[in-house]
Subunit: 208 residues, 6 copies
């Protein structure tokens, strides 16, 4: 095993296998495991939903940590943490996910990367496996002693929050990329207007 | 009506009545209402649980906002936001509450009271009625245009987070004041040791 | 009325009309209205001055809110809040404006857009109408219940703070774009040197 | 001169004398001096007004710096910066002071004393003399190279913001301690209710 | 072993023993160990010096972390981080300690206890053993996976920073509690005046 | 002398000359001077080492202030303050510098330039001369009353932290640009992996 990080993947797989088939691993089932799914979810889309479903097939409960929680009304972070919770909840319900197994937690950004992991730990209930394809996130959590698994991929070319924001700004079709109730809510809060307003601020005045 | 704040109470009652019996109020049911229950929940106890149940008898969903979310390991704020979420969830389950109707959201303190309401609004999904007996909280939310109701009382002399913390620190009986699973979890994280350690720091060294 | 935001404009116009001609609106004059003029004012120029004059033709007092107050000595924000107050005061005096009707208030940036409006409200005395052409600013204040009017335009191609900063950096003529006393003050603090120094920091050393 | 701080007092007196009688000091009048008057002004009262008048008898313009600007709705800091500006302006008008010579500037607290002076310098236009009876404030400004004068005293036993807040909380007579228009404004915003609400928060709920 | 924390003590002792006598522990010496000594050092006194010497008898290098680094000019934190570095260096030199084995590092407070350990880790070079008698500090570092040893005691009744500050404030003898060069420096910056000024601020004015 | 800043250079040179040859300047040697060397040191390289040596030829002690101390794990700021201290210490030892004359102090960024100088003063022990080629840094320190000298140059085309970071990211040769022990340490913490991970984060997931 040339890459020392591989051991964390193996450990995560072992944990998940032991959880699923306790007898084969010589213990009785007396534990529950949680997976951490990190994102900014600006907004939560069908790709996120499918990833959440795959994770919930491996662990008992999912902690959906909504990063950069304090930001909103910017081109990259148009929605508030509260709105992002609403969209994620509606999407998960649309997808038939039982909300009792989902813990949706906003986590503010702290501006200092080496400290960020302890912020996530402080705001979220205990979790066992971190799902991420981001190399830096992986490194930071592995250095903090966590087991990290690659996030399952689901058609990333098609489902992308950046693409959804771009289409909202240009009032093109974005509804097919989010779940039905999420689309209804995003219309209710007039996301197209918000995105196009944020996208072209006049220069000289104060843009907060 | 001598106190102008009474109108907000009446409005909240009207909203709740309309929601329960739409026909009598001349409309069909096409809306859902949410109640905001604010607290530090250090820790969530049986009194909080009973309040949550009463609120859930009036509204469709409860937003449990965990204030001062970034603090922990202090005499007043011993538990992290993540631990407080864990305790609240277990207590609500013990109390037979359906977690699908509960949105548990940590909200960091912002240090500036007049700004705090907009922080709560940013972190939490939309809510309709605020339950509170705290006069300042009531004032701040009424000034922000919210409907505010008095929080139902449930044996406040007996069930008190401050009392639970005191008993933990002194290793006296506190288990009867929290739900069964909450007690088990609080033992698991060895809350008695933590509280007694926090309670008596040596002076000259750095207490973070 | 297809755009719901139009009602806020109408309301602002109505308020201004009622203020000017109380009898026609069936009331006696017993109120004073204030207009909020937001900007970074890096620096305040003749265009700003003309806008302030137009606003003061409509309202009794103007609140000049100096945004991003904590920043200075950067290419985009070269002047401190204190210097910006000085420049605005001198410009208004040059323009024959009575300073007794001007409230100049520095407002720090808060980094979180949805919270920014409540910061402006906290730092500034009560105001009634917000003047802005920035769509996001308009949206945020309308959502907060304010009446918003388009900011009067005054030769925006010619008078631009960004252009003034560019010319200062290149030591070209910028004096014609600010009032006479403002120009004298900007020379006194040697703005050309500051701008050119800020504009070309060496890379490897610490630029604060 | 045994106390090295005395030289700063002398320098301030010299500056004020030179400003008043330029010929006697061998120069022609070509400068204006400003005095800094620091306070939290919670609220601005008749004592503050009399101090401001004395200072304006010595200098050309007064910079009234409103400290702890970001705080409000606490027992010690009940009023927002904006409200404190309003109260100070009305009091100064009641006292016959020309507002054109008053610069009222909110300054946020920075939490770090050695840095605070540079914060005051950043937010306020240039000032020449600091008026203060607070030893720490004096030390900090003298170390920063400022001339510091003792603040003129005006019946401090009678006029005290802490006493006014106490009386508001207890709904006793506080009106005689503030100017007439200030009293009217403080009634308008229902300061008695606010103070009594802040004064007795219930414990278990979240007090922001 | 009834207390699970004992294992961390044993591990620390083992590490120190292995470092001192590598052969007996079956390895050759190829490592260096560092001890972390945490404090606010307001100011560093003879007790601290003796503790540092004992620690340097056990480890190769000492990391002296100066906590609450951003605070100064308060009754509890009168000296800046820079002044505290100066005092510690002079004391260590007086005590015959080789400064080449001392890393003095200011660490700002972060306001959030569960995050504080990661702040210490970010600001300080790698360390192996934490010396502390503070229960909370011990808990936090043990939870973060560190080996923790009790801090050696040295006449704590006599040598106390709080006592030194009290004596400075009252201009009583404090010189015997600090090293000779530290005393000279503390006189140079006129610590008695600073402490007595900080200790009795007038109430109504702004104390930063 | 047409540029008023020249006087600060002269003053610095005078101070250094007086320090070296006290008799010629009519005083006996009774003082020590310190030079401030500011940088982010991401990482400290051979060019920095040579600059430090030249400075130590002019002053008694060097204060190496590590700016942006709270940042790490970003493309521009990959290393923590603690790691940067470690690298600088090892490099100085490699270069034969006596660590007893080096004070290495991390200084957090404060986000507000006009305040930054007072932050540096708060965190660092007293220094007499500032070495910098950055115009803004020079301006800010001169305005604060410091003597500023140009930083000695040492082959800046070759030795550059940005270039080192680029080569690490691309796993090309960077070892020749840092000292031998620094290179060993940078391998120990696997800087190449860290830099390449930070350099290419996936977009949709949360990059802390």
């Amino acid at each position: 095993m040339r890459n020392p990080k591989e051991k964390y993947l193996k450990a995560a797989d072992y944990l998940i296998a032991a959880r699923r088939n306790p007898t084969a691993f010589g213990g009785k089932r007396n534990f529950m495991i949680r997976g951490l799914f990190l994102g900014k979810f600006q907004p939560f889309h069908i790709g996120h939903l499918e990833v959440a479903k795959v994770i919930l097939g491996e662990v008992d409960e999912i902690v959906l940590a909504i990063g950069s929680a304090q930001f909103s009304y910017t081109p990259e972070n148009p929605f508030t943490a509260g709105e992002r919770i609403e969209i994620a909840r509606r999407s998960l319900l649309d997808g038939g996910v039982d909300l009792r197994h989902c813990l949706i937690v906003p986590v503010p950004d702290v501006g200092t990367h080496s400290i960020w992991v302890s912020y996530v730990k402080t705001f979220c209930p205990k979790f066992d496996v971190v799902y991420s394809n981001n190399n830096l996130v992986r490194t930071l959590f592995i250095e903090a002693g966590y087991q990290v698994k690659p996030s399952p991929l689901f058609n990333r070319e098609k489902y992308s929050s950046a693409e959804i924001r771009r289409r909202m700004r240009e009032k093109k079709d974005w509804r097919s990329l989010v779940s039905q109730s999420a689309a209804a809510y995003l219309e209710e809060i007039d996301s197209e207007s918000r995105l196009s307003e944020i996208g072209a601020p006049t220069q000289e005045e104060h843009t907060p």
